[in-house]
Symmetry: C3
Subunit: 376 residues, 3 copies
Amino acid sequence: MSGGELATFIGSLALVDHHSHGVAAGPLDGPAFEALLSEGGAPAPGMSNFDTPLGLALRRWCAPALGLPPHAAPQDYLARRAELGAAEAAARLLRSTRTHEYLIDTGFRSDELLDPARFAAVSGARAHEVVRLEAVAETLAGASVRPAGFADAFEAALEEATVGAIGLKSIVAYRGGFDFPPDPPAPTEVRRAAESWLGSGARRLDHPVLLRHVLWSGIRRGLPLQLHVGYGDPDLVLHRTDPSRLTGFLKLTADSGVPVLLLHCYPYHRHAAYLAAVLPHVHLDLGLAIPHVGARAAALLAETLELAPFGKLLYSSDAYGLPELYLLGATLFRRALARVLGDWLDEDALARSDAEHIARSICRHNAERVYGLGPA
Amino acid sequence: MSGGELATFIGSLALVDHHSHGVAAGPLDGPAFEALLSEGGAPAPGMSNFDTPLGLALRRWCAPALGLPPHAAPQDYLARRAELGAAEAAARLLRSTRTHEYLIDTGFRSDELLDPARFAAVSGARAHEVVRLEAVAETLAGASVRPAGFADAFEAALEEATVGAIGLKSIVAYRGGFDFPPDPPAPTEVRRAAESWLGSGARRLDHPVLLRHVLWSGIRRGLPLQLHVGYGDPDLVLHRTDPSRLTGFLKLTADSGVPVLLLHCYPYHRHAAYLAAVLPHVHLDLGLAIPHVGARAAALLAETLELAPFGKLLYSSDAYGLPELYLLGATLFRRALARVLGDWLDEDALARSDAEHIARSICRHNAERVYGLGPA
Amino acid sequence: MSGGELATFIGSLALVDHHSHGVAAGPLDGPAFEALLSEGGAPAPGMSNFDTPLGLALRRWCAPALGLPPHAAPQDYLARRAELGAAEAAARLLRSTRTHEYLIDTGFRSDELLDPARFAAVSGARAHEVVRLEAVAETLAGASVRPAGFADAFEAALEEATVGAIGLKSIVAYRGGFDFPPDPPAPTEVRRAAESWLGSGARRLDHPVLLRHVLWSGIRRGLPLQLHVGYGDPDLVLHRTDPSRLTGFLKLTADSGVPVLLLHCYPYHRHAAYLAAVLPHVHLDLGLAIPHVGARAAALLAETLELAPFGKLLYSSDAYGLPELYLLGATLFRRALARVLGDWLDEDALARSDAEHIARSICRHNAERVYGLGPA
């Protein structure tokens, strides 16, 4: 099997994208489009978010999907997109990914995005819901919940929110990072913390005790638990999201039967792969990082595949807002996988059947097993 | 000199493996074998430790050493190994490494492993002993040592344990990591700590003051001191083993005349190379990491050789239990060295005589100098 | 455009070296020369600082610039250098770099180095001054400044020191690292700290409150602010210089209008690139690291260009003392850029005009924009 044949094989595999957010519900003007191209939002004055590794990748791979030549200029790309209309552009881009299943985190600005059902219609694929724990807790802010009743109210709200969901997500990385005590807080601590938070009038859940309580409630709920790790917008402090700082929590949950999925992980993907190698329930992906690093996707994947067991790595785009990010996630991931496994084949480091097995596991089977996805 | 000639040259060099543990004394069944293939022990339910980068490397390189085709299936490999018998398999695998000297850490589960003398007989090489500091201290637990006499008793025990040894090792990385005060604890602190630990009835030495005392006693003993750094089993917390956290200790010991050897170091091998570049007594290796990362060994070595002086990098396998890990350590290390130096030759970044000098230093001469190894 | 054409194009671009220190004012004997080849100073006993990645690069690239064959032996190189004389060697090496503008940090052992005016004469380029904040503060030690007057005296001294300067630099990385409270200290804190420091008789500024005060005074001064990050001599503790630990300070200064330039960054260059991607005023370079890692420069640059916007990366050598480090900085940087962009061209990841735009931005235009450099 040559490298080209392997790329063709990997190109033919259906993907399960186990973590993304959906696409913008309406049209986007140039500045709104560009702001979605960077985790920092709008570009610095006088700069363009197209002048980045991601911008190059978008012009290279998305332009042809909309009928333009590769490397089309940003203004030409935006004009073509407007000409097609947001819905048609989204359909073309999403369908180019050959993704058969999507898991959609509905907990962030979901009013600006297509919901899973509409997303499924546009993409022509199945879409499942992943519920964000902190967002569920935040529905209790302003409600008439007494502090002593917070734990029960949250449990009930989580139960209700997860009817039909197939996974949970925590963004504790964005709320102080991973340097929290690893064990569940005591009921009296939770009550006192609820008193403080509910009494503050704030909606944003940032009380460290409640964040821990909500996380452990997620473990008790029993659905696979996704955790944001590493790279993201500047609401987080990068080194506080090193997954090594989660070691205590991960060891306490190792026998819970709940799969934990470390998302993104960059630039701590080697650390995450280490955890996946030594703890039975830890999995990881390279979502968000892969589309953003463009031509360097294979380098990240190769570093991850130094220690990651092949049954522990999943595919995700972590796309948010732009259908382009779905196309880039899928295209760059497939290319990266073909490059890494192709290099190994060229060096005779594995057999052809091994390469196919690994590709199938990562593109699809691992996600199907972790989330219990059945036939359509 | 072509890349192929360089690989042949490096293949012809005798290795000094300056850190490993020895091989299992008896036969291993499938699950026992597989558990030794991962720092996490037994695989997660439904998974196999062969389904990893290390598993691929084992099938590629160990299968031919036992007379099977490359990439033989795990069950065929295990069957062939059983057919040969553990002793014959070990002899074949170990002798394939062309290692002339081994330094054996005898401080971890040594009752399950061949001792240095028996290991020398099986491998056909010389074997030297490295004494684990914490293990010596733990022989005092339960002995009739009074707290006030702990320091003297430990000094005497260390003196006795190191008759004939050529190095020391510390695993303080596994006992809380490197965030300890860098200086030696005062005698009164040691006495109080000994009181607490000896009184607890625990055998495992985890009192931070005693760990520091034992470490500094090692410096005073004057033998080269190996320190576990980075990658290992989940008893450690990865980021707490970043060798940068040892900077204070390393600066205090810089003029002690005692070589310090940072072992494994992954994923902090760049940090370790930095310390080796700026502190005169600091050396490093990539043991454990190299066999586990399989086809990616050259990438790790190249990152290490960004800053590491060529006189500061040593070879080790850090093999434990399985003779396969010795073969993989040696084979993957030789290939990685040939790849990195070969690429540099191709780019005309060094002369042929430089490449040979660097290879000799790393494969053998640096270890001979550090440990004062004489002719057989 | 082939890889070779791109290398020629990049070779033809004038460089702005936005951070270096100047060259030794007088001749250097062998040991003095060698000590300047390592951030650790003199080599370990029995070793040579030529036996390093940097040493290989020096012999490869500097020897031909002085009329010797590539890979000349260290003793031949030093002999040739002595034969030419330090001034002639410096002129040949510096002029080989094709650097048109230098920004010189005058705050470290400047009495041993050529000042910017003499450096300009030797190098045949323009030289601008960058003022080190801590060095300005240290001029107040021993002066008859009262604690209550420290803040005003520093402000006046900074105003005077920066007449004609085009940038500021802080080495707070070397004075405890980045784990300081991110906001400016209150005037009463500054006064108390000044009392303590001025009263101590010490010259070295290491009071954490004064270091913060001086840093924030730099922001108020309004010139672009360079910050030492990561790799350097062993006065620093590597992990305390992870730029992620500066996140709070960087967020507080994001709207100040002051560009912040993270210098060196190794091995945290991915972290620095992340910050440059999400915060509008953050820029970075790979100075110091690039010459020291020799043949691996392209690998570092590629990792940096995973997230760094193309308008945020600058060139610098961070050369200190040896004109060789200027030549290596420039040569290895050009080669690395040609390699990374050439690989991307080969993969059709960007268009030829993109490659040229990115190269121009990084080699020169970004620095011209940040520092407001006008025509000569």
